[in-house]
């Protein structure tokens, strides 16, 4: 019934979920470009990165305005705070996608480990899905689903550990793989970081729903 406020809150919500979907797509594209050794694709990611930053700034600005003008409390406040906190997490995910694109552009190695690249591709798929899934939990206000993202992140961590193991083994066997394998380590690290960020967003979804602050990432770090 609070026409103006409710409309603005709905708009804010839409902008936030749209940005989430954009970030999820960007992550997927950046990993795909890496796996395909597609420098052009990676350049396109860098060129579009400002869109993510721009959206973050617009959403932040809007939340500041809504807090100043409407002094929201209870569920309204929690929703706005959740968006304000989670939007910076999305932006940091975008930065990781940019880092992956940068690695793709300056990649030096000419010899690759196909199985590891396949694993990285799978990790990319997984983490991009985690991002879009966590956004769906946001939309559905599904705190239990959000909590379950932590399990997904654990499986991602295991994959990252496997990439590390395979990369190190590759380097031991063949010195010509060192350039590529070093990149694999770094990319796996970026993807692992994005996975951790999805649990950060999940924590805010739980807060939005319940008003409780929880910790979904209690330090089972297999890697980096």
């Amino acid at each position: 019934m609070r026409r103006l406020f409710d409309e603005e809150l709905a708009d804010l919500d839409n902008s936030f979920t749209e940005m989430g979907m954009l970030v999820s797509q960007t992550i997927q594209k950046s990993v795909q470009s890496f796996v395909d050794h597609d420098r052009e694709g990676a350049k396109a990611i860098l060129e579009n990165d400002h869109q993510i930053n721009e959206r973050e700034a617009a959403i932040e600005k809007k939340t500041f305005e809504m807090i100043a003008l409407y002094q929201p409390v209870t569920t309204d406040l929690r929703e706005i705070v959740t968006i304000l906190k989670a939007v910076s997490v999305l932006e940091r995910m975008g930065d990781q996608a940019r880092n992956i694109a940068n690695s793709t552009i300056r990649v030096k190695g000419t010899k690759h480990i196909a199985s590891v690249e396949q694993s990285l591709g799978a990790m990319g798929e997984q983490v991009a899905t985690m991002v879009s899934t966590v956004m769906e939990y946001y939309i559905k206000n599904d705190a239990l689903g959000a909590e379950a993202i932590a399990d997904e992140n654990q499986s991602l961590s295991k994959r990252a550990a496997q990439v590390r193991f395979d990369s190190v083994e590759g380097m031991k066997e063949d010195a010509e793989l060192v350039d590529s394998a070093a990149d694999y380590l770094v990319i796996a690290g970026y993807l692992k970081r994005i996975g951790d960020y999805t649990t950060d967003i999940a924590e805010w979804i739980v807060y939005k729903r319940t008003g409780k602050i929880i910790e979904l990432n209690p330090g089972y770090n297999y890697f980096i």
Binding site: M1, R2, R3, L4, F5, E65, A68, L69, Y70, Q71
Partner: protein, 256 residues
Amino acid sequence: MTDIKQDNILETRDVKLWYGQKEALHGINLNFPKKGITALIGPSGSGKSTYLRALNRMHDLEDNVTVTGTFDFNGTDIYAPTTDTVDLRKQIGMVFQQPNPFPFSIYENVAFGLKLAGIKDKAVLDEAVEKSLKQSSVWEEVKDDLHKSALGLSGGQQQRVSLARVLATSPDLLLLDEPTSALDPVSSHNIEETLLNLRDDYAMIIVTHSMSQASRISDRTAFFLSGDLIEVDATKHIFLNPQRQETQDYVSGRFG
């Protein structure tokens, strides 16, 4: 603030007002666009209500008040000797702090201004009463009781009937002097929603002590202090990033 003339319904320049020898407004320059809500905020004694009441010559009724300055309302001079104040107040309607229905029926309350203007055609009056009560969002609550006394309504309903009475004469500008300060939050909310529904069609100026009300519903906010206009800007600028320290202190509740 630079207003383009064509977009304004009211332009006031160098408005000064004296109660006897005491200057209460020190030269206010303030313009109002054709649509939207402007909130006047400031502490008691800041001159915001005094200024508001000058806009439809309410001070004419008081002794010892002198008003100077330019008041250009749609090209006419509000204070010209030829201006008919009854006519003027039809175009610039006012809603007061205390709901003030007349002690007769809801219908008669709303039709009052039109009857005063000589309209007798029942069909015309019926239509105007219904339209005004709908505009002020009270029609659904009173449509079956139109001939009951307006005094039997709740405070919030009375205030919306008062608003309908003002709307019935098709004003171009609505002045609202703390219209919700005597009401509870639910009734206040109803009035606020009503004003928001009207803001695409009317120019409204509201004096309010509630900072949160100003920030919720107004497009522009003007901050008065000690008879001066300190700052006027888009409401979101006033509440997020005001230019003057005095404004900053007031809107953030630092009155020390």
